[in-house]
Symmetry: D2
Subunit: 341 residues, 4 copies
C-alpha cells in the first residue's frame, strides 16, 4: 500500500496541519479518494516523520513537511487544519498562491466582522472575509462550488443548524436551547491531560465553557440567514467516547405544530440530501460513527408544547474532516458522495 | 471478612431485590454501616447464591433468599429495590409486618393519584399513598424522620430538583428545560443488550423516551411544592460510563438575575447541607463518583438572559442507594452522614 | 440508499443468523460489496424487522426472514452465523441445496473428529467434516478456492496462528504461551449482562475459561499442520472495548534466534499478503479497527532468550466477518481485497 | 469539609509530588485517615492552587506548596511521588531532616547496585540503598516496621510477586511468563497524549516496552529472595480503563502439581493476610477497584501441565498509593488496615 490509487490528472491537494486529529483524518480520506491526489502533508512539528507512524490507524506513508507556501507548485487546493487565529495567515498565503482553500478553523466562519471581534478579538485578515463562503454544504452548495475560500463549519453548528434549519426556514423558532454532547476527539489532540486523559475524561460527563461558547454566534448567524433572528442558549459537554456528537435542541415554537406536520417538514427538507437522514427513532451517535451522515429526529411534546430536535453526527467526520471532503467534491465538480464511504 | 462489624442492638434491615444494581449497592452500604445490621438479602432469582459471588466487587457474603414477608421476624426496616408496580405489594406486605420501608421504585413518589394514573396507569396500592413521604432528604427531612414509607426519588429528579430548588423557592423559574445525561448503570442490570451491552452503549450518546419520560411529573410535583407551578421539558440520554449523572437545567427567569445574586442564592440555600456542594466551577460527574454528594453550579448567561444550572450526582449513589441510606439514617435518628464515605 | 449497487449477475449470497454481531456485519459488508448480491438475511428471531432497525449503524434495509432452506432458490452461497452445534445442521441443509457455505461456527474447524469430541462432545454432522476447509485464507487459499464448505476460523486462532506461522514453519517453536485479550463484541450479543453490560465489563479486565478454552485445539491443529506439534498454553481475557484483539505470544525457541533473523523471517513470510502487515513497532488494536488487517510484530528478548510475537486484529472483522468475505472472494474468483475497505 | 478529622498527636506526614495521580490519591487517603495528619502537599508545579481544584474528585483543600526540605519542621514522615531519578535526592534530603520516607519511585527498590546500573544507569544516591526496605508489605512487614526508607513496589511487581510468592517459596517455579495488563492511570498524568488521550487509548489494547520493561529486575530480585532464581519473561499492556491491573502468570512447574495441592498452597499462604484474597473464580480487576486488595486465583492446566496464576489489583491503590498507606501504618505501629476502606 505504498502508492495512492490516484488519477494522473486529479486535482492536487495538500493538508496543512496534518498532525492533529482533523488534519490526519482529512489526509487519510484524501489518500483513499479516487479523484484527488494527496500531494503533501505538512505540520508545525514532527517534520520528517511519516504520518502512518504518528497515526498507525491511517495508512498514509507520506512524511510530514514544513509548510512553505512560496515554494508550493502545482497545488490546486489545500485543507488548513490549524488552530483559530493561526489559520488565517496560512489561508491568505495559500490563497495568494492560487490554491483554493477549505479552512477548518473559525477564522472565516462569521460574516459579521463586529460579531467576530466581539467573540474572538481582532481578525487577522479581515480583507479576506468577503471571499469566504460558509461551508455547511447542505445550505450553501451553490456558493461553495465557486468559492476561493470555504470556511468549514464548527462541529456543533453543523449538528445544530442542520437540526434546526427546517424550522428556521418556515419561521417556527421562537426560542431555542441547544444542549450538545461530544466525544473527546472534539477537544483535539493537544487539549491537555486535564480534559482528555482517559483517567480524567473516562467515567465523566463534563460541561465546559458555560454561558460563553464561541460556537454560539456561528449558529445564530446561520439561523438568522434562514430567517430566524434570535439568541441561542448553547451549552457543550464532553462525554467519554472518541468520536460522536449529539445536539439536543429544545424549541419553543411560534405556533402550535402537530407531530404529522413536523415529520413532514423534516422529510421534505432533506428528501434529496445524500448525507442527512431523517430518522424514525431517536438517533444514537454510534449510528453515524465514522460517516459523513447527519441523522435528525424531531418530535412534538404534547405535554409542554415544545419541539425536541435531536441531531447526531460524528464530530470528526461530518463535523470536520469529511465535510471538508464533501466541500472539495462540490468545489471541483466531483460527485458529492465520492470518496465518502 | 466473614462477619459484619455491627453493634448488637443496631436496627435490623433487609434489602429486598438485592440482585439488581441498586439493591446490591444498598446491601453493601448497609453491610459496612457501623449502625445498622444487614439482616438479610432477598431476590426474585439466584436464591442460595452468595451476593459476593454475583457482585465480586462487594464483599457481602450473605446468601440471597426468597422474600417471605410473613416469616420475617425482628426486622426494623427494609429497602425495596423492585421494578415499578412490582414494588408496591411488597412494600405493603412489609409495612403490614411493621417494618419501615424505603422504596426505591416510583410507586409512591407522586402525591397525586390522578397524575400517577396519567403516567403509569392503575396504582397497585392507592390506599398507602398518603403514608409515603418523598425521600429527597434535603427537602423533606422532618417528615422523613417519622415516616413509615419513604419513596426514594428517581435519580433524575434528585439531580434536577436539588439544582432548581433554590430558584423555585424564590419564584424565579418562568420556564425550564432539563437535559439529563446518565451512565448505563441507570438503565439497570436487566435492561437488555440493545441498551447496555458495551458494544452498543460504548462509543454512543443515546437519547431515549423522547418527550415522554416518567420522571417529568415527579420533578414538576416537587417544584410545584416549592412554589414553581410549571411544565418541565425533560429529556434523558445514556452516555458510555457506569455511574454518573448530570442534569443541565436552562431556566428562563421571571426577572433579571445578576451573577452575584445567583451565586449568593445557591450558597445560602445549601450552606448547612452535608451532601450538597455549591461548586465554583462546572462540575463533572467524576467529582461525585461513588459518593452521596450532589454538586451544583449556577451561572447567568448575559448573552441570552437565561440561567444555566448544572447538577451532578452519582445516579446509583445519591440518585438511588446511598440516598436510601441517608434516609434510613434520618428515620432512625442516626447522624445523617454515618456510613456514607 | 434503498437499493444495493450490485451487478445483475453477481453471486447471490444469504446471511443466516444476521441478527447477531457477526452476521449483521457480514450482511453490511455484502450489502456494500460491488461483486456480491445480498439476497436475503435470516434470523432465529426478529422476523419482519428491518436489519437497519436492529442495527441502525448499518444501512441494510432488508427484513429479517425465517430460514427455510427447502424454499431457497438461486442462492449461490451462504454465510452461517449460528452458535456452535446449531450451525452444523443448517450448513448441511444449505449444502444439500447446492449453496457454498462459509460457516462462522466451530463446527467444522477441526480436522480430527476425536479432538472435536474431546472438546465439544458429539459432532452433529461428522460426515461433512471432510468437505470442509479451514478458512484461514493466508494458509489455505488454494483449497478454499474450490471448497464447498469453509470453516471460518475463530478470532483467537486467527490472531495466534498468523502470529506464530512463520516460526512454526521453520521449526522454531519449542514451547508457547498465548495470552489473548479481546473486546466484548467477541462475547457476542447474547452473552448475558454479567459479561457484557457496560457496568460490568467497563473498567474491568476479566480472564475467562481458565485452562480450558476451546480455541486451544484449533490453534494446536493448525500449528501442527505447519510442523509444530505441541501443546499450547492459551488464555483469554475480556477488556473494555468493543472491537479489537491482541494475541501476545511467548515462544521458547528451539534454538537461538537473532533480532535480524526474526525480522527477516516475518517480512519474508508476509511480503505478498494483502492483509497481513509486519509492523516496525508494537501494534495497538486500534491500528486495525474495522479492517481486515492483521498486524504482527516480533521481537527477540535478549534477557530471557524467548521470542515475543504480538498479533493484532479486529475480532469482528478479520477475526470473523470480513475474513468470511475474504474467503467468499477467493471462492468466487473475485480479487481478494474487493469490498474490504 | 474544611478541616481534617485528625487526632492532635497524630504523626504528621507530607506528600511530595501531590499533583500527580499517585501523590494526589496518597494525599486524599491521608486526609481522610483517622490516625495521620496530612501536614502539607507539595509539587513541582501548580504552587498555590488547592489540591481539590486540581482534583475535584478528592476533597483535600490544602494548597500545593514548593518543597523546601530545609524549612520543614515537625514532620514525621513523607510520601515521595516523584519520577524515577528525581526522587532519590528528595528522599535523601527528607531523610536527612529526620523524616521517615515512603518512596513511590523505583530509585530504592533494587538491592543490587549493579542490577540498578544495568537497567537504569547511574544511581543518584547509592549510599542510601542499604537504608531502604522493599515495601511489599506482605513479604517484608517486619523490616518495614523499623525502616527509615521504604521503597514502595512498582504496581506490576506488586501483582506479580504476590501472585507467584506461594510457588516461589516452595521451589515450584521452573520457568515463568508474566503478561500484565493495566489501565492508563498507570502511565501517569504527564505521559503524553499519544498514550493517554481517550481518543488514542480508548478502544485500544497497546503492548509497550517489548522485551525490555524495567519492572523485570524488581520481580526477579524478589522472587530470588524467596528462592526462585530465574529470568522472568515480562510484558506490559495498556487497556482502556482508568484503574486496574491484572498479572496473568504462566508457570512451568518444577514438578507436577495437582489442583488440590495448588489451592491449598494459596489458601495457606494468605490465610492471615488482610489484603490478599484467594479467589474461587478468576478475578476481574473491577473486583478490587479503589481498594487495597490483591485478589489471586491459581489453576493447574491438565492439558499442558502448566500453572496459571491470575493476580488482580488496583494499580493506583494496592499498586501504589494505598500500599504506601499500608506501609505507613506498619511503620507507625497503627493497625495495618486503618484508613484503608
Amino acid at each position: 500500500m505504498a502508492e495512492q490509487p490516484l488519477a494522473g490528472t486529479a486535482p492536487r491537494v495538500i493538508v496543512a496541519g496534518a498532525t492533529g486529529f482533523a488534519g490526519a483524518l482529512a489526509a487519510d480520506l484524501l489518500w483513499r479518494h479516487p479523484r484527488f491526489e494527496l500531494a503533501a502533508v505538512t505540520g508545525r512539528s514532527n517534520h520528517g516523520r511519516a504520518l502512518d507512524e504518528l497515526y498507525p490507524r491511517y495508512r498514509v506513508p507520506l512524511a510530514v513537511q514544513q509548510l512553505e507556501p512560496e515554494r508550493l507548485e502545482g497545488i490546486d487546493a489545500a485543507i488548513v487544519a490549524y488552530p483559530h487565529a493561526a489559520a488565517a495567515p496560512t489561508v491568505a498565503a495559500l490563497h495568494a498562491r492560487g490554491a483554493r482553500v477549505v479552512d477548518l478553523s473559525a477564522d472565516f466562519r462569521l460574516r459579521s466582522l463586529s460579531t467576530y471581534q466581539h467573540w474572538y478579538g481582532e481578525h487577522p485578515c479581515p480583507e479576506l472575509m468577503s471571499e469566504a463562503v460558509y461551508g455547511l454544504t447542505e445550505l450553501h452548495r451553490e456558493q461553495i462550488a465557486g468559492a476561493a475560500i470555504v470556511a468549514n463549519p464548527g462541529c456543533y453548528p453543523t449538528a445544530a443548524v442542520l437540526g434546526l434549519a427546517p424550522l428556521a426556514r418556515v419561521g417556527l423558532i421562537s426560542d431555542v436551547v441547544v444542549d450538545a454532547k461530544q466525544g473527546v476527539s472534539g477537544a483535539g489532540r493537544g487539549a491537555g491531560e486535564e480534559t482528555t486523559h482517559l483517567s480524567m475524561a473516562g467515567e465523566n460527563i463534563l460541561p465546559y465553557k458555560v454561558a460563553a461558547h464561541r460556537h454560539t454566534p456561528e449558529i445564530e448567524e446561520q439561523l438568522g440567514l434562514l430567517g430566524a433572528e434570535l439568541r441561542v442558549q448553547f451549552q457543550a459537554h464532553l462525554v467519554p467516547l472518541d468520536q460522536g456528537e449529539l445536539a439536543s435542541c429544545y424549541v419553543t415554537p411560534s405556533r402550535g405544530v402537530s407531530e404529522e406536520e413536523l415529520r413532514a417538514l423534516y422529510r421534505e427538507a432533506y428528501l434529496h440530501e445524500p448525507f442527512v437522514e431523517v430518522a424514525e427513532a431517536p438517533p444514537g451517535t454510534r449510528d453515524v460513527f465514522a460517516t459523513n451522515f447527519c441523522r435528525v429526529f424531531a418530535a412534538a411534546d404534547g405535554h409542554t408544547g415544545k419541539l425536541v430536535v435531536l441531531s447526531a453526527i460524528d464530530n470528526l467526520w461530518k463535523g470536520t474532516s469529511s465535510q471538508a471532503i464533501q466541500n472539495l467534491n462540490v468545489m471541483f465538480d466531483i460527485p458529492e458522495t465520492e470518496g465518502l464511504p
